[in-house]
Amino acid sequence: MLTVKILGPGCANCRKLEAVARDAAASAGVEAEFVKVSDMKAIMAYDLMSTPGLVINDTLVSSGRIPTQAEIRQWMAE
């Protein structure tokens, strides 16, 4: 069971990232819990300079862009 956090105030990119991440989890058959983090203080706890940020099991794996499904699947496998 993975915990996937989407960091972002709710802009277009954050929604897109969530959709891509959900698709990636579904296609890899990984069970994951999705958490949206929109509070700025909570977001700033991670070292990122641009949202959206993707956090898998409390590790920031990407920020400021939308990764492809393949990339996300690989991070989920690690």
Partner: protein, 482 residues
């Protein structure tokens, strides 16, 4: 009933005239540039200068550069602002970044330039830059004890170094060339080099129909829709449809629609650069110098874009499309509403309140700017409307400086990151400085004493810089003594 129809007609007419005339040559390249900045400029190439140990003369200009190059939308503005404040070079540069971002980014500049004139864009850029640095330094002076108490966290966030890839620089520069070639009203761009005649008998009657549909009053600064304009609106709709099919999932790869949309966008820019003259019985199409300049710049974009990594290219297109989706609909609604408002607002009101350049007029303009909230970039057509209705350029600039900087949304955001007391001080400073900036600009427009003004501003920033250095030195000595 009749008057409601007239209002709606005003809104639709404004929108049609606007889409036909201004949007294409300026906004289409601007969206692509904004996308390229967001995806092709690695943040670390600028943020490496914003670390805790960076000296003043490095961190403030770097903060301004970050504001104009990295911060094209709030996704970057807020985290970067909080990052610079908490983990980087501190309050002052963070404020400079925040202040400069809405006025110094490419979209705002290009748009201001095409709608209000290059002089306005230039004044907005310079005054925002100087006052952004000034306000940053003042804030840092006011709250210098807070900055001194800054905990000694490691600033790993700002330790990364990166360079912009040469191909990305090529893409960015050639996109800027497209923008300049498309909008500048200068010889040799405006000269008609060759022309062809098409025997289209409907051209003249179509033009007459358009003018009947969208009646306009030149004295009020309104514009009609030309035949070329109607063609461009059709192009815009086609781009919208194909882009939706081609860009929505661009991250996973491109498809036929992607290429159709890109080709259409390039064609649109070329058509917009031509000169269409309908006459009874036919249509003359003039090829201006602009057509060749835009064509060459587009070729350069293509040439460099091919050398980008496929992944970079995709994220560039995605970011550009995202900006279109985020900004364009609001802009369309905004322009429509501005068209309605223009029918309602009497020029006498505007002239009575802000027709002169004095403190009251500038104050009113700033007050309006703080309490009205317009979505990104809509402040520019609003400003255009006020200019047409007789507002003096001075107060207009004051409004343009305060409106995007101080909306309720941005004030709340700032307060959440730096606390209420500092946010209040920031709001006060921005209001005061906007009034001063408007007054100075209006003074310059009226009397042309640019040398003295520029000198005065430079002295002001220099005095602040010295005060800061002195304080920093005292702080350092204090730490050493302790």
């Amino acid at each position: 009933m009749n008057s409601v129809l007239q209002l709606l007609n005003g809104g639709a007419g404004n929108l049609a005239a606007y889409l036909a005339a201004h949007v294409l040559l300026c906004l289409v390249p601007a969206f692509f540039i904004a996308g390229a900045m967001a995806s092709l400029i690695p943040k670390a190439s600028i943020t490496r200068w914003l670390g805790r140990t960076a000296p003043l003369h490095v961190s403030y200009p770097a903060a301004a550069a970050a504001g104009s190059l990295l911060a094209v939308c709030s996704c970057t503005i807020v985290p970067l602002f909080a990052g610079i404040y908490r983990k980087g070079s501190g309050l002052g540069p963070a404020i400079t970044f925040l202040f400069f971002a809405p006025a110094g980014n490419i979209m705002a500049l290009a748009y201001t330039g095409s709608l209000l004139g290059a002089e306005f864009a230039f004044a907005r850029f310079i005054l925002c830059l100087l006052f952004g640095i000034g306000i940053g330094m003042l804030m840092s002076l006011l709250f210098w004890s807070d900055d001194a108490r800054h905990d000694a966290q490691t600033d790993t966030l700002f330790a990364d170094e990166a360079r912009i890839a040469p191909a990305a620089v090529g893409v960015l520069l050639s996109l800027v060339a497209v923008l300049i070639a498309g909008t500048l009203k200068l010889w040799p761009l405006t000269v008609t080099i060759g022309a062809i005649d098409l025997p289209l008998s409907w051209a003249q009657s179509w033009q007459d129909t358009l003018f009947r549909w969208v009646p306009f009053d030149e004295t009020k600064g309104e514009e009609g829709v030309s035949l070329q304009g109607s063609l461009l609106i059709a192009f815009l709709v086609a781009i919208g449809v194909t882009a939706y099919k081609g860009m929505e999932n661009i991250v996973e790869g491109s498809n036929r629609w992607t290429w159709t949309a890109l080709t259409l966008a390039a064609l649109t820019l070329l058509v917009a650069a031509m000169r269409f003259t309908p006459y009874p019985g036919g249509l003359e199409i003039g090829f201006t110098g602009r057509v060749f300049a835009v064509g060459f710049a587009l070729w350069a974009v293509w040439h460099y874009a091919r050398r980008l990594a496929a992944e970079d290219c995709r994220s560039w297109l995605w970011e550009a499309w995202r900006f279109v989706k985020q900004i364009f609909p609001l802009l369309v609604i905004g322009v429509f509403v501005v068209g309605i408002a223009r029918e309602l607002i009497q020029p006498q009101w505007v002239q009575a309140l802000a027709g002169r350049n004095d403190l009251l007029a500038n104050g009113v303009a700033v007050f309006f700017g703080v309490f009205m909230y317009f979505p990104t970039l809509v402040e520019v057509p609003v400003a255009r409307m006020f200019l047409d209705l007789g507002m003096h350029p001075g107060p207009l600039l004051a409004y343009l400086m305060s409106d995007p900087e101080l909306s309720l949304q941005s004030i709340l955001m700032v307060a959440a990151v730096i606390g209420r007391r500092k946010a209040l001080a920031y709001v006060g400073l921005v209001a005061v400085f906007s009034v001063v900036a408007g007054y100075l600009y209006g003074f310059w427009v009226d009397r042309a004493g640019i040398g003295n003004l520029g000198l005065g501003l430079l002295v002001f920033v220099a005095v602040l810089a010295f005060a800061m250095r002195w304080l920093n030195q005292r702080r350092r000595n204090g730490i050493q003594a302790a």
